[in-house]
């Protein structure tokens, strides 16, 4: 039987999760190692976000478990197929996040707080892809960034890094 832990979200919802799944979070892993994890583990993450985090962790977990089990047996071909599956899953996951940026940012903060490096990098890459090659005005609109520069200041920055602003 797998060891289960109960995670408690900031809005008091309980999530029963396998140890292996949540140990991907360095923060929780430390709590468990320190013995601070008796009973429910309270987390500063909302249930909606936590559910999304766990969705990610479970997906990652599947991959590692399968790879462990059958050392060399058919690994390469299966790995290739598996990689395709994961790609497909990740694309769907990304599309959802792009459509709802609030979830994206909640997840970014949660992955940082829970110390989930793989998820954090994945999300940072996602945001970077959204930004890459876009004009400043487009980026501001996308993320509701208010331009607080005076026209003079803006001109000075453009002049300073000329090449960066060439189309």
């Amino acid at each position: 039987m797998a060891i289960m832990y109960a995670l408690k979200s900031s809005d008091n919802e309980i999530f029963e999760v396998e140890q292996k799944v949540i140990e991907q979070s360095e923060t929780i892993k430390k709590m468990i190692e320190d013995g601070a994890a008796t009973g429910e583990i309270p987390l500063q993450v909302s249930s909606k976000t936590l559910a999304k985090v766990l969705e990610w962790c479970k997906q990652r977990q599947h991959k590692t478990v399968e790879n462990e089990n059958d050392d060399n047996k058919g690994k390469r071909k299966k790995e290739r197929d598996e990689d395709d599956d994961i790609k497909e899953w990740e694309n769907k996951f990304s599309d959802e996040l792009k459509a709802d940026k609030d979830v994206l940012f909640d997840l970014l903060l949660a992955s940082n707080y829970l110390d989930l490096p793989a998820l954090l990098s994945f999300l940072c890459q996602l945001v970077a892809d959204m930004v890459a090659g876009k004009m400043p005005e487009e980026i501001r609109r996308m993320f509701n960034i208010e331009n607080d520069f005076t026209p003079e200041e803006e001109k000075a920055i453009t002049a300073e890094h000329g090449w960066a602003f060439q189309p």
């Binding site: 954090l120 940072c124 970077a128 400043p136 520069f149």
Partner: protein, 449 residues
């Protein structure tokens, strides 16, 4: 920790700027995934963003990211100068103590000294990874002796002077090189001079008029070696590979010609994958191939692509050598070889795991049906424990083969059949069919996915 969106998107209310509220370290992480041009351009978004980029630890300079490149073949001198000034300024203004990754893609450098000074800056800041895509440069010596550099990727025509100590890139574990008509001065020395190299990828493009090239790879630390050879033109140049890497775990060769490979001392558990295209067939020489196969055949794990199988079948016909060491064989089987699978199995007397996947492009040939040798392959009778068939579609020739293996596989433990895309109904029907087949081994399990 997080702020839920409930009640915030009411009416025409101004939406919250959440990205600017992220910590500097997360923003820097995001900017690290961008070409530096775009990372620096975020400085104009708002005052919050003005200096964020100055802490990035990954630099990616690419002179193709401006319109002037697409208008002309090369950058104009003016654009080239602007690019060089940009890189200079960014490196001066950036305040990250350590540089994680430095990437430079540049069609033309007006002042080669620039490269030296940029690399020197990166090296002074303990750079861990460098990727260069340049044309015709001489790599500075400081790069060859850099102690923090662990990952190096070179896609360029480059000249390199191996330091007189004979040691180059003292900490590089992962080396990727893409070479155009490489010179022997590089190929004979470089790959044997890196003292801690673990992963080496060599992609080489040859012109048919290139002189004979010798690749010498002598390394006791190397674990993964990938070789990809492309030859332009109709005549094949000659290239020789001499590989002696006793701790190699994975050898992957993609080479149309397999002209001359001498492979020494492979570790028995090394996994060998060979992929060759058919177009090089006329350049194969049977003795060379046999010599090569004898070299790699000492390993336990062999993976051959469909093209390789086809090519080998045509060249070797009945002269397939025997591979007594191989215990795991993975093959992609084209239609013409499918019927000969059992004959092939006979060449692997100690096989334990057999994985195959069908690559059917000319299904008509299948009319011949499965060729059943007079004697059951000995490995099937006494050694093969696992068989896996991928991309199963339920056709007769597949069922024939499964039936044969199940019936004769006397020590078979698992027969795993991974189905391709099919309806659930068909799947159930096939599953029933598979389970009803006679099994030579009482303990054999059938897994159907």
């Amino acid at each position: 920790m997080d702020r839920e969106s409930s009640g915030r998107k009411v009416g025409n209310e101004v939406k919250e700027d959440r990205i600017s509220g992220l910590s500097d370290s997360i923003l820097c992480h995001i900017l690290s995934f961008l070409p530096t041009k775009y990372a620096v351009a975020t400085s104009i978004l708002s005052s919050r963003w003005k200096l964020v980029w100055t802490s990035i630890a990954n630099f990616d300079f690419d002179d193709r990211l401006c319109l002037e490149y697409s208008r002309t073949e090369d950058l104009t001198n003016d654009a080239s100068t602007k690019f060089e000034n940009f890189v200079n300024r960014v490196l001066v203004l950036s305040n990250s103590v350590n540089i994680n990754k430095f990437t430079l893609t540049c069609c033309k450098l007006r002042y080669p000294a620039c490269l030296n000074s940029w690399l020197f800056t990166a090296i002074m800041r303990n750079v861990r990874e460098i990727q260069l895509d340049l044309y015709d440069v001489e790599l500075p010596e400081c790069l060859c002796t850099c102690k923090t550099l662990e990952v190096l990727s070179l896609r360029s025509i480059f000249v390199i002077k191996i330091p007189s100590s004979g040691m180059c890139f003292p900490s590089v574990k992962i080396l990727f090189v893409e070479l155009l008509s490489p010179k022997n001065s590089v190929t004979e020395k470089l790959f044997s001079s890196c003292p801690v190299l673990e992963e080496l990828t060599i992609i080489a493009h040859f012109d048919c008029h290139d002189p004979v090239t010798n690749f010498l790879i002598l390394s006791s630390t190397l674990k993964t070696l990938t070789i990809g050879i492309n030859v332009q033109g109709s005549i094949y140049n000659r290239h020789n590979f001499m590989i002696s890497a006793p701790n190699l775990k994975c050898l992957y060769i993609q080479d149309d010609t397999l002209l001359s490979y001498t492979v020494d001392e492979l570790h028995p558990s090394c996994e060998v994958m060979i992929d060759i295209f058919r177009k090089g067939l006329e350049y194969f020489s049977t003795p060379n191939i046999q010599q090569f196969l004898r070299g790699v055949g000492k390993t336990k794990i062999l993976d051959l692509s469909a093209n390789t199988m086809m090519a080998l079948e045509i060249i070797l016909t009945k002269d397939w050598p025997t591979f007594p060491s191989v215990t795991l064989l993975e093959v992609d089987v084209g239609s013409s070889l499918w019927r000969l699978l059992l004959v092939l199995l006979d060449r692997f007397p100690n096989l334990e795991v057999f994985i195959f996947q069908k690559e059917l492009r000319e299904p008509a040939i299948l009319e011949h049906g499965l060729y059943r040798p007079l004697c059951v392959p000995s490995c099937l009778l006494s050694n093969v424990k696992n068989i896996e068939m991928c991309k199963f579609t339920g056709e007769k020739e597949e069922l024939d083969l499964i039936e044969y293996c199940l019936k004769n596989g006397e020590v078979l433990e698992t027969m795993r059949v991974v189905s391709g895309k099919m309806t659930l109904q068909k799947k159930l029907k096939l599953c029933q069919k598979l389970l009803s087949l006679e099994r030579g081994s009482k303990t054999c399990k059938i897994e159907f996915l």
